[in-house]
């Protein structure tokens, strides 16, 4: 069915026309979103894809009337059943919210009021939209909890959010959104904060209810894998503009706009980077863990018992120079604890950490200190891991200076490394807030390299980055690793990323290693049931971004080199055969 036929038969459920939202002064661009036009039909899933700052959530918020006060739509309309949502009085908009248009948010951990039971929170939707009979409301709450697949609705109704896991909370949020059977569901990155297996379940749930209820769904995401799994139609946004829209089939397999092509090329594909060289393994290992254990004890005092959580159990591994070892697991698997133990930010309970053959586990902090500079860490959050009050130069040189290197020498080294990680030498005198997330992560990498480490621990170092930036940082890490022949432990929740950069992988669950081996083997022929489940849960399995890119490279289309002027493609002008 093409657009024109559809327009003749029935009007779209929601139609956004030339919507522009102006940014306050002092931003890098004038409009948050500019000239956005799209339709949503009943019973379709429309994915809005883009990187951070692309304005992809902005239309969603505008539809809900939830824009921050500083942001005002200056042009255009959002028409829903003949009414323009932008000009509707607040009280009428409130009446629509929750009843006709509902929303699911990104962070299930913070999207629920911590002081109300989940039952009360679902109940509230019904109450504020005029259902006064508490018996009817209770029945509906139980129905909804059951419908979104939560166990024992009668019990879980009285639970507070903190008792539930992230996935369960997201189910509660979805139940809340479904309470009054809205005709439009807006989901703003609803699975981004979840583990991959939970993500797969939530995506299934959204697809299922969308089919049963025939709702129109606007699904905002940055993940092309998710798009491949659920989208009927796709809108790609860049810097506030729609650069491409079309059916999922078109956009995913014949991307026309260079930006879309770049994004798709950057999607981690999980194709292994090639096994580890056998020659490397013949050397003495750089790091060897033997039967490492760590148990967390919290609480407990004079008169009370502590809470015990085994975080790392009987973990053994070997790492050689020039090898990258991936540690993969979901949240709570103990993978970060492992990293912290190796760098001795945490003390292990038992087991050996052999670094160059010497057991560093029993060393005191003072005795370990001379070795500390040889083992460095790259952290997850590029925003929180750099001191905002220090210049980049100070951040980089602090370590060497503390280790007795003269300042001019340290400075010279810092400038070399800034060049190595692809930053300008002028970065030296600037502050972290002047850099983007990707650039900050480069600074973080340079900082780790300042002390000439031979062991790098990268803890979720690319998780907070957009795919295109993530791809660049991964490439940088690989390059550095090859050039400097370091040993690297790469901790991640994303098997695709791990497979791409690591030689070998260990998979952890609840503190234990369930499977280990060469990356390609783990990814293509997982042995353990848990690994298989992890891999099966990766979104977009049936879609191969590499193939798409390869086929594009074979037959370069003229659109791929489109001039900036033709960037705003309109829905309807796209010809599937292009």
């Amino acid at each position: 069915m093409t657009t024109d036929q559809r327009h003749m038969s029935e009007p779209p459920l929601l139609s956004v026309r030339n919507l522009s939202i102006r940014l306050p002064e002092g931003f890098d661009r004038e409009y948050a979103i500019e000239d956005i036009t799209y339709d949503l039909d009943p019973g379709e899933i429309l994915c809005v894809v883009g990187e951070s700052g692309s304005g992809k959530s902005m239309t969603a918020n505008a539809i809900m009337g939830l824009l921050p006060e500083l942001l005002k739509p200056v042009r255009g309309s959002i028409e829903y059943r003949g009414r323009d949502l932008l000009t509707l009085p607040e009280e009428e908009k409130r009446e629509l919210r929750g009843r006709d248009i509902a929303m699911v948010f990104q962070e299930p951990l913070s999207a629920l009021n911590p002081l109300m039971t989940v039952g009360e929170q679902i109940d509230e939707v019904l109450l504020v939209h005029g259902e006064t009979d508490s018996g009817v409301r209770l029945k509906r709450v139980l129905e909804l909890l059951d419908f979104v697949g939560l166990p024992e609705p009668a019990t879980i109704r009285n639970s507070y959010p903190f008792r539930l896991s992230g996935g369960q909370r997201q189910r509660v949020v979805i139940a809340m959104a479904l309470a009054l059977e809205p005709s439009i569901l807006i989901a703003d990155e609803p699975t981004t904060a979840l583990d991959v297996t939970t993500q797969a379940q939530i995506l299934d749930l959204i697809k299922r209810i969308q089919r049963i209820k025939g709702m129109g769904v606007i699904f905002v995401t940055h993940d092309f894998g998710v798009v491949a799994d659920i989208a009927d139609r796709v809108i790609v946004m860049e810097k506030g503009l729609v650069v491409e829209q079309g059916t999922a089939e078109q956009v995913l397999n014949q991307p026309r706009h260079p930006y879309t092509q770049r994004l798709i090329a950057a999607v981690p594909h999980g194709a292994a980077a090639g096994g580890s060289g056998a020659a490397v393994h013949e050397q003495a290992p750089l790091l060897e863990l033997r039967d490492l254990n760590k148990t967390y004890r919290t609480g407990g005092g004079l008169f009370s018992k502590p809470r015990v959580v085994p975080a790392v159990q009987h973990v053994s591994l070997t790492l050689h120079r020039g090898q990258t070892l991936g540690v993969v697991g979901e949240s709570g698997s103990g993978k970060s604890t492992l990293g912290r133990i190796i760098i001795k930010l945490l003390q292990s309970d038992s087991g050996q950490i052999l670094y160059h053959g010497q057991d560093i586990a029993p060393l005191s902090q003072a005795a370990f200190r001379p070795m500390r500079k040889r083992i460095q860490m790259i952290f997850q959050d590029p925003f929180a891991s750099l001191n905002p009050r220090h210049t980049v130069g100070r951040i980089l040189t602090d370590g060497p200076v503390a280790n007795g290197v003269a300042r001019p020498e340290a400075r010279q080294r810092a400038e070399e490394l800034l060049a190595l990680v692809g930053l300008d030498a002028s970065a030296y005198g600037r502050y972290p807030h002047e850099f983007s997330g990707g650039q900050r992560q480069r600074i973080g990498i340079a900082r780790a390299l300042m002390l000439d480490p031979d062991l790098l621990i990268a803890d979720e170092s690319v998780s907070a980055l957009d795919v295109s930036v993530q791809e660049q940082v991964l490439r940088l890490l690989k390059e550095i690793q090859e050039r400097l022949q370091l040993g690297m432990i790469f901790i991640t929740h994303d098997l695709r990323v791990a497979a791409q950069i690591c030689d070998d992988i260990i998979v952890m669950r609840r503190g234990e290693v369930v499977e280990s081996g060469p990356a390609a083997r783990i990814f293509d022929a997982p042995q353990h049931e848990y690994t298989q489940r992890l891999i099966a849960a990766i979104p977009g399995k049936d879609w191969n971004p590499r193939q798409v890119i390869e086929s594009l490279q074979e037959e370069p289309s003229d659109v791929a080199h489109a001039s900036p002027a033709s960037r705003t493609l309109r829905w309807g002008t796209a010809d599937p055969a292009a």
Partner: protein
């Protein structure tokens, strides 16, 4: 729950015993011999008379024996005997306690109610004139010393305007009873309560305002808006309930001062409470009374903390019983 309560009671007991012992030694270290002062006031410097006073109060015994006598007395409920007033300390304290609790309790309620009210008003009208007025006043009362406010209030409202009585707890010699008396006390309470409460009102206002503004920016408030919850209900059910938690923490600190925190106010307004009892005892080296007041204060602090911890579990369900 039971084992938690039991644990806490045991801990509280240990803490209070520690306080008793510590206080005892503190007092022993203070310069000045009560017997000498008493004898001096009686107009006699006769060493024999002083010795007799010492023996009478047990001050001639070794310190550890005195400690044992005191602690075992406390455990039996005997807080000792006032040197000066010649009555049991416990009677003195029980006599004064209601007046203090009435004053501090009323001030507590006053500052909580007004503080939260102003805080909510300021937060809801953020950036408006009302917000500016409230935050400015809060800053002024937060920064101004209590006794100065007390004196100025007496000057203005009692002496110049004559609206409220300047001191005492009730009209002396009027012999009111029943409701008439309650009204008379209430009238006398206005100035001291407001004076004592204003500082905390200012703190609660600022705390509530800041905390409300913070909570308003949280995700679940957006969820509530997306659900179509009306604004008033969002403020009440979602924002205020969460914003009240830090206020609650601070309120439990104020509640801990229910007995010991009104010395200044009681002195300025001639309020016949514990604060003044303590002040007088200090001036007169009436150490058993002083120790008694310390003990009661400590007990109240520990008890309030205990109650606050219990209440926390109701206010915030995330705090589970360990």
């Amino acid at each position: 729950m039971m084992s938690f309560t039991l644990q806490r009671v045991m801990k509280a007991f240990v803490v209070i015993l520690g306080v008793v012992i510590l206080n005892f030694f503190l007092i022993k270290m203070a310069p000045g011999d009560p017997a000498v002062i008493l004898a001096g006031e009686a107009g006699s410097g006769d060493p024999q008379f002083v010795e007799r006073l010492r023996a009478e109060f047990g001050l001639d015994q070794p310190v550890l024996v005195q400690l044992w006598n005191y602690v075992s007395g406390v455990l039996r409920g005997d807080l000792g005997f006032s040197y000066r007033n010649q009555v049991p300390v416990l009677d003195l304290i029980l006599d004064r306690l209601p007046a203090t609790l009435l004053l501090t309790g009323a001030a507590f309620v006053f500052s909580l109610v007004t503080g939260i009210l102003f805080g909510v008003l300021a937060a809801r009208n953020r950036g408006n004139v009302l917000d500016s007025i409230i935050t400015t006043l809060a800053l002024i009362f937060y920064a101004t010393p209590l006794f100065w406010i007390a004196l100025m209030a007496v000057l203005l409202f009692s002496l110049n305007l004559g609206w409220v009585p300047p001191f005492d707890m009730e009209t002396i010699g009027a012999g009111y009873t029943g409701w008439r008396r309650a009204l008379d006390i209430a009238h006398h309470m206005i100035l001291p309560v407001v004076t004592l409460g204003l500082f905390y009102t200012a703190i609660y206002t600022r705390l509530t305002r800041a905390s409300m503004l913070e909570v308003m920016g949280l995700d679940f408030v957006k969820t509530a808006r997306a659900k179509g919850v009306p604004k008033r209900r969002i403020i009440r059910r979602h924002v205020l309930r969460n914003a009240i938690l830090p206020v609650f923490t601070f309120a439990s600190m104020q509640a801990g001062q229910l007995v010991g925190g009104a010395i200044l106010t009681e002195t300025v307004f001639a309020w016949p409470g514990i604060g003044r009892l303590m002040f007088d005892a200090l001036m007169q080296r009436d150490y058993p009374v002083l120790l008694g007041v310390f003990l009661v204060t400590a007990i109240v602090v520990v008890a309030i903390n205990f109650i606050a911890d219990l209440l926390y579990r109701f206010v915030d369900p995330r705090i589970a019983i360990a």
